[in-house]
Point group: C2
Chain length 198, copies 2
DNA sequence: ATTGAAATGCCACAGTGTGGCGTTTGCTCC
DNA sequence: GGAGCAAACGCCACACTGTGGCATTTCAAT
């Protein structure tokens, strides 16, 4: 569960509420009409907020669409901080991802699945998504690396690549119960892939 | 060598020439003033072409900046088509990249190195670059895959990731003679990375 | 209740990318 | 070498994204 710490002040709760409504409405609206085809104003009219306040809460149109994805990565980094690093690092990264996926609640899954479909359909979203992955990779490296080695960099690249492959396998059905199996399968296939023969 | 087939017609040569001048000027201009900080009009004024003709030759401001990168991938796909696929596929992909890098001429290297530095400094360029890599991955899969398997997908992800790591190692010096060694080192470290222990 | 800070809304602007349309340029056929 | 034709070009106007200034509202805290 992504436990929202229930901010004490009313003002803060209102702000969080508009953030949440914007992210949810964005996913449904973009799903209905397409990301590239839907002007931002359509979202602003729907939620009834001004352009100004939108850009105080989100960096861009892509940003709001990818909220669920970013929440996952944020949770992943949290899990990684709590994880003891022992044994093969690729297993550490995989188990952290499994634990993260386990923590997310049903509401998140209802936003995550359509988000993935949006990314698959829009080049702009794919670009932002990949860039965000790259940023997460540097964060992961900071948390793992005593020294910044080529091997470590490769390892993290491979783990994130395996994660993206797992999502591709999960995408057709998007059954929350199946995601861990997809992750395990992708990570288990890494060695076989690397040694694949023609 | 990237042998430009010398288009017979003068009209076509003029078009190619403006394309080339735009790409070259873009790299130098963006290097001097920064990609995000330089409006497109600055490039158009410098080369003296209208906005309309620019967008007939390039899809976006990012596109023109990444010309050298796209040329490399185009050459890579050509090499891959001529390559017999035998043995470990990861070696096939690596050797094809080595052969591609070998083919590029000095002029290309003079544009490629600053292009990489631009990508490292601009989030927008990094996003476009990563998306282009993703597109190339599907192209590679088409050329390799009889059936679309998880292992194949992973393999291609890993190979492209290794290539990007090689570029990161090459970036500080950007000595054309050193690039093959960086590629070999990155690909040789894949197994070690995958089995890295904490 | 008053005061101060934070959030919002409105407005204007820079920049990117697209489409229409008339004009120029170079190719081709006579 | 001239006429006709298609492609490329330049100019103009427009939609959309994202930013900054400034007045107004809303909540918090005393």
């Amino acid at each position: 569960m992504t436990t929202a710490p229930q901010p004490a002040t009313l003002r803060e709760r209102k702000k969080q509420r508009t953030r949440r409504v914007l992210a949810e409405t964005a996913v449904t609206l973009f799903t209905e009409r397409g990301f590239d085809e839907t002007p931002l104003d359509a979202l602003l009219d729907e939620v009834e907020v001004s352009r100004r306040t939108f850009f105080r809460n989100f960096r861009s149109k892509e940003d709001v669409a990818l909220t669920a994805l970013k929440q996952l990565w944020s949770a992943y980094l949290d899990v990684l901080d709590e994880t003891p690093k022992s044994g093969r690092l690729v297993d550490v990264l995989r188990d952290a991802m499994l634990a993260t996926v386990e923590r997310m609640d049903g509401d998140w899954y209802r936003r995550f699945a359509p988000t993935l479909r949006l990314v698959a359909r829009s080049a702009a979203l794919e670009g932002h998504s990949l860039r965000h992955c790259a940023e997460m990779q540097t964060r992961i490296a900071d948390r793992l690396g005593t020294a910044d080695s080529l091997e470590l960099r490769l390892l993290i690249e491979f783990a994130v690549a395996a994660w993206r492959c797992a999502l591709d396998e999960w995408l057709p059905d998007c059954d929350p119960g199946e995601l861990p199996a997809c992750v395990r399968r992708a990570f288990a296939s890494m060695d076989a892939g690397l040694h694949l023969e023609a």
